[in-house]
Amino acid sequence: MASRPRTLYEKIWDAHVVERREDGTSLLYIDRHLVHEVTSPQAFEALRLAGRDVRRPDLTLAVPDHNLPTTARTDEAGARLPIADPQSAEQLAALEANTAQFGIRYIDATAPEQGIVHVVGPEQGFSLPGATIVCGDSHTAAHGGIGALAFGIGTSEVEHVLATQTLLLKRSKTMEIRVEGELGPGVTSKDLILHIIGAIGTAGGTGHVIEYRGPVFEAMSVEGRLTICNMSIEGGARAGLIAPDETTFAYLKGRPYTPKGEEWDRAVEWWRTLHSDPDAEFDSSVLIDASMIEPTVTWGTSPEDTAPIGGNVPDPDSFADPAKRDAARRSLDYMGLEPGRRLSDIAVENVFIGSCTNSRIEDLRAAADIVRGRRKASNVKWAIVVPGSGLVKRQAEDEGLDKVFTEAGLEWREPGCSACLAMNPDKIPAGERCASTSNRNFVGRQGPGARTHLMSPAMAAAAAVTGRLTDVRELAK
C-alpha cells in the first residue's frame, strides 16, 4: 500500500507520537533534552515542590553557557576562579546542584567540552538526525541543521519534559524555503539566512516548521547548516530542518554520544529515509535565488531589517506599511543612523565574533582568513573572538588561529554566550556600535543602548580591520 507522500517534518513527527488526542494535540516523545543554567532552576524547583522525579536523566545533558564570563576560569594552579556576579554564581551553582540531585550528566564550566549548548549538542553527537530535541532556549532550532526536529521551549515545558519526557503539541504547518543557484564568493550561510529573514519577515514563519531545500544546502557544511537553522526563530519559525545526508553522517561519525558499530549502520539506514518525499506538499513555499545575494548586514533593531553591504540605510518613508514606517523611524533613531547613509560608511567601535550562530571552527577560520596579517583598526575599541566550545577553542589553537587573532589585536576568549545577550560581563556600551556575528539586533540586546549590526564572521572580521562595515570581498581580493 502506497502511503501518502510526507515532508521530513511529518516523518519525524509521526515517529514520535505517543498519543493522539481528540482536540488535535498529540503527546510527542522527546529524545534529547539540553539544559542550561538560565531557564532550568524554576523547573527543577517545581519538580521538588511536586515531589516529581526526572523520567529520563539518560536523555538529558546539562551545560552552563549564558552566565559564564569568557575570561579565564581557573588560576595558574588550575583552581576554579569565583564568579564575581553573585546572582550569576547562584544560578550556575543551582545547575550543578540540580543536575547532581536528579542524576543528570553535567558538563562543568572548566571541562574541555564545555561550550554553548547548541554547539555542544551536535559536537558531542548528543543531537542526532530524526531525533526530537528541546532546550529552554529559542536557538535550539540550530540542531535542525543535522536533520533533527529541534525547538526552544519555556521553563514550564522544561519541567514537563523533565517529568514526562514528552510535550503536548499541535502539529505545525510546513514551509519550504527553496534556494536555487549558487552563493557568490564571500557570501556565506549567515548572509543567506539574513537575506531569507529579510524576505519573509520576523513573523513570516510563525506557526510553521521551515525546511530549507535546494543545492545550496546540499553543498553546505554541517556548520553552515547549523547557522541557517539556528536563525529560523528570527523568521518566526520554531524549528528549521535540513535533510540529513552523507555530509551529516560524516560529521557525526565517531562523536562521543553517537551510536557505534552495527547500531550506527542501522541508524544511518533510517536516517537515509529522512527527507521529504518527491510529491510531499508544504503549506507554503518561498523561492530564493542564491546568485542575487550579497554579503548582508542589518541596519535596524529587528533581524528582518537587512540590506546588502553595497546598499544604503533605507528611508522610512519608502515603506508602504505605516507600521513598518514607524518601526523604521524608531529603529534609525535608536541606531543613530540617517536615511540614505552608505552602509559601508558606518564606523564600529566593537566587534563580536561568537554566539551559537557563528562560533564553530569554520566560522573562526573564515574570520581568521580576513584578519591574518592585518591589524585591528584604531577606532575599534574592543574586538573579541569567543569560540563556541572548549573543543572548538582547542582545535582553533592547534591551527594557530588564536595567534592570528591576538596578533591583529583581537581578544581570544573562553567559550560561552558572551556578548550575544548582555547577561554576562561581555556587553556593548550604550551608544556604541558592534559588528556582531550573533542572531539578534533587538533594542538593548547587547547592552542598554547598544547598537548591533548582524553579519557573517568574515564580515565582522573585515569590520574589525577597517573600523567600519565593509564588503569582505574588497579585502579578499
Partner: protein
Amino acid sequence: MEPVSTIEGRAIPWGAKNVDTDVIIPAHWLKTIRREGLGQGVFETVRAQPGNVFDDPDFAGAPILIAGDNFGCGSSREHAAWALLDYGIRAVIAPSFSDIFSGNAFKNGILTVELPQEQIDRLLEVARTDPVAIDLETQMVTTPFQDRFRFEIDPFRKHCLAGGLDEIGLTLASGDAISRYEQGRAQHLPWLDTATERAA
C-alpha cells in the same frame, strides 16, 4: 495555575508591534532562580522613556495589555510571562503572538487574545478612557460601548485555563502510553536510548 474566567479592567493601549522578549524583560533580569519579582524589570527600556504609557497613573494596576502584531517574538524566556504576571497583566490582546510566547503565557494563566487589527484599533481607542472585559467562557472581548469581539482559542487551552489544570499531572496519567512508546523505541530506534551513558 489560577483558573481564568473573566478579566476586566483598564487595558494599557500600547499597540507596539514586534515586541520582543528582550523588550519585555531584558536578559540581566534572567539571573534569578525564582519566578517572582520580575515585574520591576518589565518593559524596562520602554519605561525609562519619559511620558511612556506604562507610567500613566490611569493604567496603574491594569490587568490587560493591548499590543501589535507578533507580540513576544525572540527568546524562549518564560521570564517574559512571569514578568508580565508579576506586573499584574492577566491578558494580552494582539493581532498575533509568537508561538513560544503564547505557550509560555498559557502555562502561567495569562490569556493571549488574538483579534484582527481593526478591532485592536477600536480597543486602543476605547482603552484610553474606558475599561475592557474579556470573558473566556463566551470567548468575547467587550467594552462599555456595545463592542463585542469574539476570539478563537484552542479548546485544550481553554479547558486548562478555565480549570487551572496541572498539565504535567494530566500527562503523567498517560504514563502507560509513554512506557509503551519507550519500549517500541528501544526496539526500532535503539540508538536513541541511553544517550549520556554512551560516552566513554
